[in-house]
Amino acid sequence: MKNENSRRSFIKNISLATFSALALSGCNTKAFDDFLQQNFKTLSKKEKDIIIKNLGIKYKEKYGKEFHISDKPAIDGTLFGYALDLSRCVGCRRCVYACVKENNQSREPQIHWIEVLQMEKERGIDFAHSTAQYNPEKVPEKGYFYVPVQCQQCKNPPCVKVCPVKATWQEPDGITVIDYNWCIGCRYCMAACPYGARHFNWGEPDVPVEELNTEVHYLGNRPRMKGVVEKCTFCIQRTREGKYPACVEICPVGARKFGNLLDPDSEIRYILENKRVLILKQELNTQPKFYYFFGI
């Protein structure tokens, strides 16, 4: 508590100094508000509402579109889990681009939250000999199988541990989120993630205005800015409303499954109980909630 206080007063002092500097330089107060904004996790409902309202105005100015920004908290009694059927995935990458669209990922410079790796059947799961660059006429190619990789929503996430400013944390429903306004872009989390699931906005993200998804969550797919890290959130804006993630719905072979690990009647529990399941890099004790299975 004391720490927090001294941090606060420190920030206050600094901000006073900055404010005078800003006032002198004639910068607008909105940037100043942004600068003073606290970590989203520590805000009261009222403060969140104000921030979200202002963000809506900002988006409207920037993109000329009305955004619906949600900050819906986790649903009680849910812990999300995901399962991907390795015996079905054909490597078509429909999921990659459905995700890009749903989650407003930058087209240029390109950011993909899902990476589909092609692996040789003879070698089994072997990251060193895999490629994401495969590009034949038709998939699946003979002798290969496909392993789509995205954030594994670890129960024991190293990315959260290393963040020096606590800009990323695990929510009660198991989704690890990022407060883009609090992220300082140090990229420690990218170095810590063993799955390459985190991506950095090296440039100003570019999404064609007509392709913007305006149904967004504050901790998820809202438009990001240059200099922050982002990653898959199990489509937090959809799943907290009861919908399936976009990648689940698009997959033409039905390889992707999603549900509540705490519900014994869910699809995901059925898979864990009845199918042969594996997790990636088990030896690292990250404890992913993203399971791979063999449906056949």
Binding site: I75, T78, V90, G91, C92, R93, R94, V96, Y97, P109, Q110, H112, E115, A132, Q133, Y134, N135, P136, E137, K138, V139, P140, W202, T239, G242, K243, Y244, V248, E249, C251, P252, V253, G254, R256, K257, F258, G259, N260, D263, D265, S266, E267, Y270, I271, K275, G295
Partner: protein, 193 residues
Amino acid sequence: MKDNFYENIKVSVILTSLYLVLLSGCKNKESDTIELNKVNTENEVSIGTAQTNDYAVEAPPFSDGIFPCTDCHKNLIPNPVRRVLVDWHDDISAMFNHDSENRWCLDCHDLKNRDSLRLASGKLLDFKESYKLCGQCHGEKYRDWKVGVHGQRTGEWNGKKEYLLCVNCHNPHSPKFRELTPEAPPIMQEDIK
């Protein structure tokens, strides 16, 4: 006294018949609503599973103008002899690849009721329930499908799930999945500017 007695009987007869009419009226109404429901759900079939959930199923993907089959078949004399079709449905003959050595049309389609499918038991089946026909042989897949694990999943993870029929993804006459053209690969790291 006597008159009064007859009067009473008359009244009770009238009352009873009124009551009967009312009853039957209600009954008519009831069956009307059932009929309505049927019409409403023409493109959606509800199936009960172990969890007694009702799932919506997409309509069967008929090619344009092919259904009802009786439109043409009512003028034809049924021929139960197994053969390769050449004059009509030759496209299906050409692609047929579904244990084709042992099976042909009438293993799934009914000889007399062309608008129905037919289980091995001889029981007739609506096209909207074709998953039961597939489930005869593919029991394991049928089981997984019912719990939502086999097949494309849409709808709500904690609410109403939307189901596709087997034939919405697998061509029943050639069920093996066709190859797909992949979307573009990601930009190589060294090409990012």
